[in-house]
């Protein structure tokens, strides 16, 4: 159609587009979003934050559920199994050289190697994993050493007559060898430290030497040095034994005579025995203590004092979370009330309250804690820490709330509310405060990790010691781990608590940043 003739269109050719002469706006087909829904949608777009949230929930689940899966508790410790490497039954049974309770021993001398070898030979355990040994150019030995079986017999143990009987009964019932033949007192090496070392059951080359070198026979085998007696031979020192024997029921045949090995020596206060610690441990925990522990298997290994890291970490994590949440909530409540009053009323009240906050805020946290510790040295350290974090923690919350109040209190809708007769309290908490929720939630999310971090540092510095009874904390674990960090193959003690702390801080930071962006889209990017 020619544009020039647009005015000359005859009227009757024009027709209304719609039948009705009024046109309506279309109804919105999308659903309206509330502020929270919108924030949630923005939060979900931030992948890092979502991952952070998932990791946090895993860590919380770990803290809540892990204590249910392990019979160990932070109060448990067993010095004999100190420095036991992390062990998982599945990995061990599959024969994978990882997480199997073993650690690499490198550059081991001949004598020390023989000691491990002899231990394995007597008990039939793989003290040296799979018996695989590499000899390097210096003539030293490298092998994977099992930290559980490697404990061996420890020292000669003196037990009561009743326990001696009970262990024999247990042996008969289960067929597990707990007691092993002992070496006659006069046949043992003479050095004090070797005399009671129950791992030396073999004939030695020089019983007077500091280091004990086994005397090998002409085939290169270790010769046993057990206390043996002929059938029917009487001895006032030997304790009677009617249970499993490693030599078999018929005894050992030698020069046409039958010998038996002795399993206990009567001494002052009971009977001296050699118990394989692994079996003895099982016996102790299943028969005597009955504390649910069936076997020494430490998933995350043990510390230098023989505490189970898995249990300590999960109980410590639980404590940290509960503690941080309590402090955060208290800080939030006090900070919000303080900040609302200060921000809403303004003027002289505000000035005084601000000055107070400023002075309290400039006291270094360390000094607050030290003063509290001086004054409350005898009360629980948890309470000291709680008060200290509270004393300086709420100021930040108060400041944030105050800022929001300053922003909103002069807006028209507040004036409207006041004109309609709303009281101060209603205006403060119904009309202004909801604006601050986003910022406050975010700062809560960021305060929790910083609190856990401060607690860690304080425990590390030794200012606060939360390790008492059945409570422990991640910081205590790290501090304990650092002391044994430089010991070969003990890095795992520090690794697990550190990994927990890093994961926690990382995920909380990502999560908190995501929350902040979601609640305040205008702030995005200004703080990284």
């Amino acid at each position: 159609m020619d544009m020039k003739n647009i005015n000359n269109i005859p009227l009757e050719k024009l027709r209304l587009a719609n039948r009705s002469d009024t046109s309506h706006d279309k109804k919105l087909e999308t659903k309206p979003l509330t502020y929270m829904q919108d924030a949630f949608r923005r939060f979900c777009k931030n992948k890092g934050a979502v991952v952070g949230g998932i990791v946090i929930s895993f860590l919380v689940l770990f803290a809540l559920l892990a204590p249910l899966f392990t019979p160990f508790q932070p109060i448990y410790n067993d010095q004999t199994y100190a420095f036991a490497a992390p062990k998982n039954k599945i990995f061990y049974n599959l024969g994978i050289d990882f997480w199997d309770g073993c650690r690499e021993k490198e550059g081991v001398g001949y004598v020390a190697y023989l000691k491990d070898l002899a231990l394995g030979l007597e008990t039939g355990r793989e003290v040296i994993k799979d018996g695989e040994v590499e000899i390097d150019e210096n003539g030293n030995y490298n092998y994977r050493y099992d930290t559980y079986y490697g404990v061996g017999f420890g020292k000669y143990k003196i037990i009561s007559k009743e326990e001696y009987e009970a262990i024999q009964a247990y042996q008969n019932e289960t067929g597990r060898q707990v007691l092993y033949p002992i070496v006659k007192y006069s046949d043992r090496p003479t050095q004090e430290k070797n005399k009671y070392d129950a791992n030396i059951y073999y004939v030695t080359e020089n019983p007077k030497a500091q280091t004990i070198r086994p005397k090998l026979d002409k085939d290169g085998n270790i010769q046993v040095n057990y206390w043996k007696y002929e059938e029917g031979e009487k001895s006032g020192l030997r304790a009677d034994y009617n249970s499993l024997r490693i030599e078999g029921e018929d005894g050992v045949q030698e020069n046409g005579k039958t010998y038996y090995y002795a399993y206990g020596r009567k001494v002052d206060g009971g009977i001296e025995v050699r118990t394989e610690y692994y079996e003895y441990y099982i016996y102790q925990h299943t028969q005597v203590k009955k504390d649910g522990i069936t076997e020494p298997v430490f998933w995350f290994g043990t510390t230098s004092t023989g505490k189970d890291i898995f249990a300590c970490l999960s109980y410590g994590a639980r404590f940290s979370f509960v503690f941080a949440i309590i402090v955060a909530v208290v800080n939030l409540v006090v900070g919000v009330i303080w900040g609302s009053i200060s921000g809403y009323y303004g003027g002289k009240i505000d000035l005084a309250m601000e000055r107070f906050c400023e002075i309290l805020g400039s006291v270094p946290t360390m000094i607050v804690i030290t003063l509290l510790k001086y004054h409350m040295g005898t009360t629980s350290q948890v309470i000291v820490l709680l008060i200290a974090f509270f004393a300086t923690g709420w100021i930040g919350m108060a400041g944030r709330t105050r800022m929001q109040f300053y922003r909103f209190k002069n807006q028209e809708y507040v004036l409207t509310a006041r004109t309609l007769g709303a009281r101060d309290r209603r205006i403060m908490f119904k009309h202004i405060f909801p604006n601050a929720i986003g910022t406050l939630v975010t700062s809560c999310a960021l305060v929790i990790p910083s609190m856990i971090y401060s607690e860690t540092s304080l425990s590390y510095l030794g200012i606060i010691n939360l390790e008492s009874g059945n409570t422990t904390s991640v910081g205590t674990l790290i501090a304990a781990g650092q002391q044994s960090l430089m010991k070969d193959g003990s890095a795992y003690i520090t690794f697990f608590p550190c990994a927990f702390l890093v994961l926690l801080m990382l995920s909380f930071n990502l999560f908190g940043n995501g929350l902040r962006d979601a609640f305040n889209p205008s702030l995005r990017g200004t703080e990284g």
Binding site: I359, M366, V502, L506, G528
Partner: protein, 335 residues
């Protein structure tokens, strides 16, 4: 003129805050029981007389069975004595409790422990600030490219991984496994000799990682905000090259926020980090503070907490004032 007035006002407020904290600490400390540590074989009277001489107690009477009775000097009188000694004689007291520093002059001990703390912090600032700002600039200029994303990941990691874990990792790998550095700092007063300097380095690295992350994040945020502002467009339109525009306009404007915090950092080099000093066995002020806590040395605690509070307050005030000096647009204290 208002600038001068503002500074005066801030200084006055700072002194006010400081004295309140100081008096509060003093009172709280003096409310505690007085630790009387009589060495074996020492006459208790000497110890009590020393305490009397320090102005803590009076009216010493020996009771039965070696129990000594004394009255405490009123706390505010003690405060008076304490302040007079500080201002007249520069005497902060002597270490009264068991420990390494028994009976030594506190101020001398304190001053002799300052150099290591200050040195490692200065080194770490010298390394950390340029690297941090450099990374931040790079990230801002290459915004949303792979360089930016890489730097962002590094920043997030460095900020999130606690300093205690980072320093443990550093100590484990570069000191223990690789054996490049000694595990802890050498105990020597010759701070500028090579072995001592070398033994300080792990602690310096551990300290500077945090400030690298902080400055990189800060610079990136500031610079990328300035880069999107309209005057940058104007600068380009009037014919400046991109480089010129960034150097002359963007950098200067972003430094307005960053420079004060560098100043603040150089003030707080005095205080240092307790954790890192402990981990690398730096013979600095942090160790003294921990010592004062363990041995309940109250005079020492007073001196050190006054020091820490003063450093914190000064850093804050310097940051605030330097804003006004650097950027004429910010008119401090103007109504």
């Amino acid at each position: 003129m208002y600038m001068f007035k503002y500074i005066l006002k801030r200084l006055g407020l700072m002194l006010f805050t400081f004295s309140i904290i100081f008096v509060m600490c003093f009172v709280l400390i003096k409310l505690l029981p007085i630790p009387v540590n009589v060495m074996p074989g020492q006459d208790p009277l000497i110890v009590y007389k020393t305490l009397e001489g320090r102005g803590w107690i009076m009216n010493i009477v020996e009771g039965e069975n070696g129990v000594w009775h004394y009255d405490r000097v009123p706390i505010f009188k003690q405060l008076g004595i304490y302040l007079i000694r500080i201002f007249r004689d520069g005497d902060f007291g002597i270490a009264t409790t068991y420990g390494e520093y028994m009976n030594q002059n506190l101020w001398d001990v304190f001053v002799s422990h300052l150099p290591p703390t200050i040195l490692i912090n200065i080194y770490s600032s010298l390394i950390g600030v340029p690297i941090g700002i450099g990374l931040g600039i790079l990230a801002a200029l290459k915004k949303n490219k792979w360089q930016d994303q890489l730097i962002n990941v590094v920043i997030i990691l460095l900020i999130s991984i606690p300093g205690i874990v980072l320093s443990l990792l550093l100590q484990y790998f570069i000191c223990f496994k690789l054996r490049w550095f000694p595990l802890t700092m050498e105990t020597s007063n010759d701070y500028f000799s090579w072995p001592v300097f070398k033994s300080m380095l792990p602690a310096v690295f551990a300290l500077c990682l945090g400030s690298i992350a902080g400055y990189a994040r800060y610079t990136r945020a500031e610079l990328s905000e300035v880069l999107t502002s309209e005057f940058m467009l104007l600068a380009r339109t009037k014919g400046l090259t991109k480089k010129q525009a960034i150097m002359r306009h963007a950098m200067r404007n972003s430094m307005v926020v960053i420079f004060p915090s560098i100043l603040g950092e150089f003030i707080s080099v005095l205080s240092g980090s307790l954790v890192i000093e402990k981990m690398f066995a730096i013979n600095g002020v942090g160790g003294l503070y921990l010592n004062a806590i363990t041995f309940q040395d109250y005079d020492f605690f007073m001196l050190l907490s006054a020091f820490y509070t003063l450093v914190g307050l000064t850093a804050g005030i310097v940051i605030d004032i330097s804003y006004g000096i650097i950027d004429p647009r910010i008119r401090m204290g103007a109504r």
